[in-house]
């Protein structure tokens, strides 16, 4: 698979994952770019068929390293809601995202959760990965994924004022 083909195949997935994890469009773009640069650097060592898993893990590591450097891993560094939601640059993914009121509320609620909860919610509910695929990306066991998802949904429900009815 050529560089262009691989990029166009997976860049949206990686960007989406990073965007919801980092809450910063520019940073998500930069890290998506960095993920693919790393992929091409270590291409020879990556098994065929495992490209997306490798990209997801690298993206996750980049995001976690970013939080660790910023010392923000223990709490949620969410952006100031009022400032960030002002439509300064039109037609960006962020602007598109907040067009729907309910989706905006959900997005804001997710971003108020702690990083582990956000991570598992993105992978299971947005990326729609299976339990096993989530285990592979996060490096957790099945029990931990299920438990964390359960707690994440409870925390999300609390953030939404009790208005959520989701199953694990």
């Amino acid at each position: 698979m050529s560089i262009e083909e691989l990029f166009y195949l997976h860049n949206q997935t990686i960007f989406k994952y990073l965007y919801y994890l980092l809450n910063d469009e520019k940073l998500a773009e930069d890290f998506t770019q960095e993920t693919f640069i790393r992929y091409f650097k270590y291409e020879q060592t990556i098994k065929e068929g495992a490209e997306l898993a490798w990209l997801r893990r690298t993206a996750r590591n980049l995001a976690y390293d970013h939080y660790r450097r910023k010392k923000l891993i223990q709490f949620v560094p969410f952006l100031n809601q009022d400032v960030e939601l002002e439509p300064s640059i039109p037609h960006t993914p962020h602007q598109w995202l907040i067009q729907q009121e309910e989706a905006k509320a959900l997005y804001l609620a997710i971003n108020k959760l702690k990083l582990a909860y956000r991570d598992v919610l993105i992978l299971r509910k947005i990326e729609c990965l299976s339990i096993q695929e989530t285990c592979d990306v996060l490096g957790w066991n099945e029990g931990k994924v299920k438990n964390t998802l359960k707690r994440a949904l409870l925390a999300l429900k609390k953030q939404l004022g009790g208005e959520l009815d989701e199953e694990v």
Binding site: I3, E4, F7, Y8, N11, Q12, F15, K16, Y19, Y20, E29, T32, Q33, F36, I37, F40, Y64, R68, R69, K70, K71, I73, Q74, H91, P93, W96, L97, Q100, E102, A103, A105, L106, Y107, A116, K125, I126, E127, C128, L160, E163, L164, D165, E166
Partner: protein
């Protein structure tokens, strides 16, 4: 209760525009020369590097120090105040030194022990020692025993077969009633207490590590090293420090405890420094410092148990 299914769908549809994707791909496939230029860094000396250099300088200077030889006397009323013993198989050299801080050697300051040893030495009959006897006594290790008296004078004895004392200066030999190692064993009443304290510190280090991992699970796999660079630096430092200690040991037949403590403190400081630099959380830095401290204290007490008899 809402299902929010439409909202999840909306979140799933988030996409980059074609223009954004093309721009990104362009950056990936055609990096500019500037991007690949390694950044030029000016020479900088961190506080830890300065500390490292300072400690190394002190160590080198301490190696160059000459040992002093105390005077001899024939005063008969003197009593023993301290005894230092060191295993030495070489008949020609005498390597025991006057300090409890010289590692590794036995240090005795227990009053009861010293009185008993003096009494035994005074009552011991004189014997003659041949070279064959010296060579044949290989069941017990040979010891160099340095005895310090109240008037500041010293006596150097070579002990073999566990009970024969040969005076290095006068070549006179005496045979004690009881074995030398038995004396040490019976008169250290604090031995078990020191061992318990040592174990408490070692358990504390494990406990603090466990608590740190429990509270900060995301750093679970990074306790030994914060980053790859840290792991490499760690390995280099351990190798360097052990080489320094081994070189000092080869040159002086002993290593002063202060040198070991200095190097360990420096190693611990560098551990914390690297972790801080790598952005580890404050709690983890504190846990790491506690672990280092507990290790240091634990091993100090183990050493005291085995070698220093108060």
């Amino acid at each position: 209760m809402k299902k929010y299914e439409e909202s999840w769908q909306h979140l799933r549809k988030l996409n980059l525009s074609k223009q954004q994707q093309d721009k990104m791909l362009q950056h990936i496939t055609a990096p500019t020369a500037i991007e690949f230029q390694p950044p030029k860094k000016s020479w900088k000396f961190s506080a830890v590097s300065m500390l490292f250099l300072a400690v190394l300088t002190v160590l080198i200077l301490s190696i160059l120090q000459e040992p002093t030889t105390p005077p001899l006397t024939t005063d008969t009323k003197k009593t023993i105040t301290q005894v230092y013993a060191r295993t030495n198989e070489d008949k020609e050299t005498f390597i025991a030194k006057e300090s409890c801080l010289n590692v590794p050697q036995q240090c005795f300051t227990n009053k009861q022990y010293l009185t008993n040893l003096q009494l035994q030495m005074e009552q011991a009959p004189t014997v003659t020692v041949s070279t064959e006897q010296w060579k044949a006594s290989d069941y017990f290790s040979h010891e160099d025993v340095l005895i310090i008296y109240t008037d500041g004078t010293t006596q150097k004895w070579k002990v073999f077969s566990n009970d024969i004392f040969l005076n290095v200066q006068t070549q006179q030999a005496i045979q004690l009633e009881r074995g030398f190692d038995a004396l040490a064993y019976y008169y250290d009443h604090l031995r078990s207490r020191k061992l318990v304290i040592a174990n408490i510190f070692l358990l504390l280090s494990h406990l603090s590590l466990w608590i740190a991992k429990k509270r900060m699970p995301h750093t679970e796999r990074r306790f030994f090293a914060a980053t790859v660079a840290h792991a490499i630096a760690n390995a280099i430092m351990l190798l360097l420090f052990s080489s320094i200690l081994f070189s000092i040991y080869l040159m002086n037949n002993t290593v002063h405890a202060s040198i070991i403590f200095c190097l360990f403190a420096l190693y611990s400081a560098m551990q914390i420094y690297y972790r801080k630099k790598a952005g580890e959380p404050r709690g983890y830095l504190i846990a790491s410092a506690i672990v280092q401290l507990c290790f240091g204290l634990g091993f100090t007490f183990i050493y005291l148990t085995l070698n220093v008899h108060f």
